[in-house]
């Protein structure tokens, strides 16, 4: 059972107080009506699903009920970090990760 540090409550709580809401940092298209079916499908359904480091959106459902992000390892289950939605420093790190993503990323 995970021990998750809620960045809003600022204390460690047990996994069963939380709910995972899927992959984090997925940008909703700004103008849904203008997107192609492919872009919309990609946004809705397609996920990176890596074995290793992963950023996820979680909610402290039995607690402050706020959403926040977890950066953790999907293989070892180690939690590297939890941070608030508006954490600026993580945004910079994230942009760097994205620029390193494999070149075929948009083949579909």
């Amino acid at each position: 059972m995970f021990l998750i540090h809620c960045p809003i409550c600022n204390e460690p709580r047990s996994e069963d107080e939380f709910h995972c809401a899927g992959e984090g940092h997925i940008q909703r298209p700004l103008d849904p009506m203008a997107t192609s079916d492919k872009e919309w499908g990609d946004y809705l359904f397609f996920r990176s699903n890596p074995r290793g480091t992963y950023r996820e959106l979680w909610q402290h459902t039995i607690g402050c009920r706020k959403y926040f992000y977890i950066k953790r390892n999907t293989e070892t289950y180690q939690i590297y970090k939890t941070y608030k939605l508006d954490d600026k420093s993580e945004r910079v790190a994230l942009d760097k990760e994205h620029s390193n993503k494999n070149k075929f990323g948009d083949l579909l």
Binding site: E15, W40, G41, F45, R47, Y54, W58, Y77, L108
Partner: protein
Amino acid sequence: MKKYSAFSLFKHGLNHHQDWQRVWRNPTPKKHYDIIIVGGGGHGLATAYYLAKEFGITNVAVIEKGYLGGGNTARNTTIVRSNYLWDESSHLYEHSLKLWESLSQELNYNVMFSQRGVLNLGHTLQDMRDIQRRVNANRLNGIDGEILDPQQIKEIVPYMDCSANRRYPVLGASWQPRGGVARHDAVAWGFARGASELGVDLIQQCQVTGFEIKNGMVTGVKTDSYGLISAAKVGCVVAGNSGVVASMAGLRLPIESHPLQAFVSEPIKPILDTVVMSNHVHGYISQSDKGDLVIGSGIDHYNGYGQRGSYPIIEHAVAAILELFPNFSRVRMNRQWGGIVDTCPDACPIISKTPIKNLYFNCGWGTGGFKATPGSGHVFAASLAKDEMHELAKPFSLDRFYHGSLIDEHGAAGVAH
């Protein structure tokens, strides 16, 4: 292939079982194959078997990073049924169920497919409406199904608490008598034996590390133990690792990998002769021929490749089973383990070509892949052999996530995704 029978057992018994033929060969891979199957689980081995048997393509290799049947094939709770809601999926699962019914004879390997019936319980009025809708749909598709009331359920499962004063009273159930359970490791071994005999090379302890892709077309796979092995076509059947293997080809899939766990109790004398599933209390249970109660429950709600389940699910599974069977309270659990299931947003599989030519994927079976093993292998083999998706596989293409033609089977999947 030396045939297995009671007589062969007797004959080998006379000389102390010293000269049994090996169940499958352990070959060194060739440089080139017509078709390479990545993943030596039940689905991959079934694909290879049917390629050789039905379509005469024997220059085939199955590449497995661990050992045959070492993944979800031998980690599931072995339930086989076909009572799905929509036409597309029920046709596919029914195709599979028909193959199950003669599989032991087909493979000359007893997979112990035991049609002891599957109950899907309803605990609320909405459950019962859903059950009615599903059973009616099944019947229209020629699939056996009945709606039972608590009294009839009690006759089939005498020790289930069907009283009205439970927290989640049992109001009724759907009943598929042709459903049941099978011996899962035997399924992998039976297909492996059959495929190997027909000339398929089964390469174990060999991990695919990448694909050779030229001009948008796959031409081979890179492996850790044998380097590059070229192939005209590649089919990936890697379940929980689908996302990882897809990313080697630069693809993303509409799939998330979650841990799903299962449990068995210590062996007890037979007390439960059917499969009992409940979406509402969220647990399912049957009893094996050894006497273990085989129990399953929901998936972990987060992504994971750990092959172990999270703790809250354990408590939940036990609570669900005791809600149905309070008398099992003193039976002790023996083992608990996890697998990695590849869940799709609509709880239906993906059997599809990909944007890379000659690279095929068969994945997304989520929590219900075992029941589809022969059917999935059969339609995937047909698609690979003819370069055109099998009729039954067509609705399950990757494109459906762009067209919006999803096949929502969350209601019939039995395990919430």
